[in-house]
């Protein structure tokens, strides 16, 4: 009898998950007890705060014991679904629960039991864990009856889809194209093997913070495609009447300049001036923070576009402007009351992920002598992010980001169920992934308490391919509830529409030097080669150089969008 411990990686693009066949005893139980035999167990379940683990409800002073031997200390005790008798299961010594199963008569089946501590089903005859959709539904219902379901963000309820219609030019359009366009130089030009769109940016006075981010944006596939396919035309843009500025138009100008084939370094002076006018508090020749510039720029694009086209404010659906279409995702925040387990959920849009570096290197997994078989092998095992040999990894940072965090006693949260402020547990997860994920590593610490700022130089290892599945709300919720098959959070309706969770790295912005006197450099990945963009100087570098660099902002694009864009030389 096969069983699954944690069905996880099956990419069920079709509705719901893969279901194991019930064992004959479970099927028999169903046959005897109607269509929803487990629903009544909902009343017997107790959701334990703060983590939300389900267990069989009992008084705190009740000590569950095996009905046969009286043992209360064995790790697995099962309660029979038919008669509530508790028995222990201690293979290979004894299994009183298996003996109990033999009591099955034609009237009553004693073969199915439930783990009293974990609320998981067990078939005493097969001596193995079994799974049942109806049972899991009861568990989730027990969970959610105390949760006031916050309304789903508007944008996810209905998705307007536009039918795809192919287009081919008619004669007039064809002649327009031929007369007004010129073919792109073939790759055998004197420019050699350098891919299209590589062009240095002159430093206009401590503007490496801007140059580095711009280089990354020029090669952000959806953004690049948007501007190169003339979706924002600087000549026709409505917003630029007279003195009104439009950052998107300036960006359009730059895209044209960068991709035109000219290899001489370009000076983004006009854009700098426009950005200064938008973010006047940052307008100076002092060195700025690249991440701050990034956020400010996205905001600038959004603001100008929104005002003019009266699109709705961004709710993470990205319908408002190209900046949000590309970078905007939705974060889910759960705050769980530690006294009663009541959970409050909110959804917030975000344009990037700001991650803390772990405080101590390998503070927990010390290379202690007992772990002789755990060699300090830092090859990231895909999902296994905790091979913490003392090196911080991006996945480690994401783990910390989505870990339940105890809010301090000075941050007590008002619990609607208890009606008082209680200590709580907060957990973040990602409800909707953006097309492009920008990870910002918080390397600059400003302490207002100590009135000082410092830079954290610690090396961070980042992967070339990243699967964000474990950080999604569906995964986080799944691990909170335990081994269940019940679909969560409207999963079922959306699995067809959800893009994949696999991402590819395409740009890394690095910082070297001190807090106030440093330098930003961007590494770009084009056609699987790496190029270092250091202001006006662009050179091809080895992948290991990039891996060893101090990542400050890492840009990942959804794998689907990456492969198409980077296959051929001509299109990169």
């Amino acid at each position: 009898m096969s069983s699954k411990i944690n069905h996880h990686h099956q990419n069920d693009k079709t509705n719901g998950q893969i279901f194991p066949q019930p064992c004959p005893h479970l099927a028999d139980f169903h046959a005897r007890n109607g269509t929803k035999p487990f629903r009544a167990i909902q009343d017997c379940l107790h959701i334990k705060p703060p983590g939300g683990r389900a267990a069989i409800r009992r008084d705190s002073s009740e000590v569950p014991r095996c009905g046969v031997c009286g043992d209360s200390s064995c790790p697995r005790l099962y309660a029979c679904m038919a008669c509530a008798a508790v028995s222990c299961h201690v293979p290979p010594h004894s299994s009183h629960v298996a003996i109990h199963a033999t009591k099955t008569s034609s009237a009553c089946s004693h073969e199915i039991a439930v783990d009293v501590d974990r609320a998981e089903l067990f078939c005493c005859a097969c001596r193995d864990q079994v799974y049942d959709r109806d049972f899991d539904a009861a568990v989730v219902l027990a969970h959610t009856t105390s949760i006031i379901q916050s309304s789903k963000p508007e944008n996810l309820r209905k998705r307007r889809r536009i039918d795809y219609r192919p287009w081919s030019p008619d004669l007039r359009e064809r002649s327009l194209m031929v007369n007004n366009a010129s073919p792109i130089d073939s790759m055998s030009s004197s420019n050699g093997d350098l891919p299209r769109g590589l062009r240095g940016l002159n430093n206009l006075g401590n503007t490496c913070f801007m140059n580095s981010v711009l280089q990354a944006l020029f090669h952000t596939p959806p953004l690049r495609n948007y501007f190169l396919s003339d979706r924002h035309n600087r000549y026709y843009c409505q917003s630029k009447n007279g003195v009104r500025l439009c950052l998107a138009c300036d960006l359009d100008t730059m895209f044209s300049a960068i991709f035109c084939g000219d290899r001489m370094p370009y000076s983004p002076a006009k854009f700098l001036y426009s950005w200064w006018r938008h973010a006047s508090n940052l307008a100076s020749y002092e060195q700025q923070d690249a991440h701050e510039f990034f956020i400010s720029m996205l905001d600038g694009i959004h603001e100008k576009v929104e005002k003019d086209q009266h699109k709705p404010r961004s709710q993470g659906n990205g319908d408002c402007c190209i900046a949000h279409r590309v970078f905007s995702g939705i974060l889910r925040s759960d705050v769980m009351c530690m006294a009663c387990g009541f959970t409050s959920t909110t959804f917030d849009p975000c344009v990037d992920f700001s991650l803390d570096l772990e405080p101590n290197q390998g503070s927990s997994m010390k290379t202690s002598s007992t772990k002789s078989n755990h060699s300090c092998n830092c090859e990231a095992d895909g999902m296994n992010s905790s091979q913490n040999c003392g090196i911080s990894t991006l996945m480690g940072c994401l783990d910390r980001f989505t870990r339940p965090e105890r809010l301090g006693s000075d941050q007590k949260f008002f619990c609607q169920q208890c009606q008082v402020r209680q200590e709580s547990l907060k957990q973040m997860s990602i409800r909707k992934l953006p097309l492009v994920s920008c990870f910002h590593i918080k390397r600059f610490e400003h302490s207002s308490v100590r009135k000082m700022s410092r830079k954290v130089d610690r090396y961070l290892q980042f992967p070339l391919s990243l699967d964000m599945a474990p950080y999604l709300s569906s995964s986080i919720l799944r691990s909170r509830f335990g081994n269940r098959f019940f679909p969560f959070d409207g999963d079922e309706s959306n699995t067809l529409n959800e893009p994949s969770s696999e991402f590819e790295l395409f740009a890394v912005v690095t910082h070297t030097g001190k807090l106030d006197a440093g330098h930003y450099v961007t590494y770009l990945r084009l056609s699987n080669k790496w190029y270092k963009c250091d202001d006006a100087w662009i050179t091809e570098v080895n992948e290991n150089t990039v891996r060893a660099a101090q990542g400050y902002m890492m840009f990942y694009v959804q794998k689907m969008l990456y492969y198409k864009a980077s296959e051929k030389q001509g299109t990169s």
Binding site: K48, V63, D128, K366, Q387
Partner: protein, 111 residues
């Protein structure tokens, strides 16, 4: 299903064949019961869970389980394989912390 009650500590139907040994409960049993009754066992379990997740022990066990594959594996098989490795690989600081907590609990309930 109508026989299901919310309390699971219902005394079992006396079984004529078996005779439960009427012994004094052992010290271990007494401690266990005291810990459950006061809720300390639950708290310790949560603490242990947190520590073992933090240090990557759980992920290590998960990957060991995955190595066994999915087919023709029962929970008992996995428990049998995992248990010795699991016990051996709990980091010392975690053990120390738990022991300390248990000690202070015992000290506080000493009668």
């Amino acid at each position: 299903m109508s026989a299901k009650r919310s309390s699971i500590n219902r005394p079992p139907t006396p079984d004529v064949d078996r005779d439960r040994e009427n012994q004094e409960p052992t010290l271990q049993e007494i401690i266990n019961i005291k810990m459950i009754e006061s809720g300390e066992k639950e708290r310790l379990k949560e603490l242990l869970r947190e520590r073992l997740i933090e240090c990557g022990w759980r992920d290590e066990m998960k990957s060991l389980c995955r190595k066994k594959g999915r087919n023709n594996v029962t929970v008992d098989d996995l428990v049998h394989v995992i248990t010795p490795k699991g016990r051996a690989s709990v980091p010392d600081p975690v053990k120390a912390e738990l022991l300390q907590r248990i000690r202070s609990f015992l000290a506080s309930t000493a009668t």
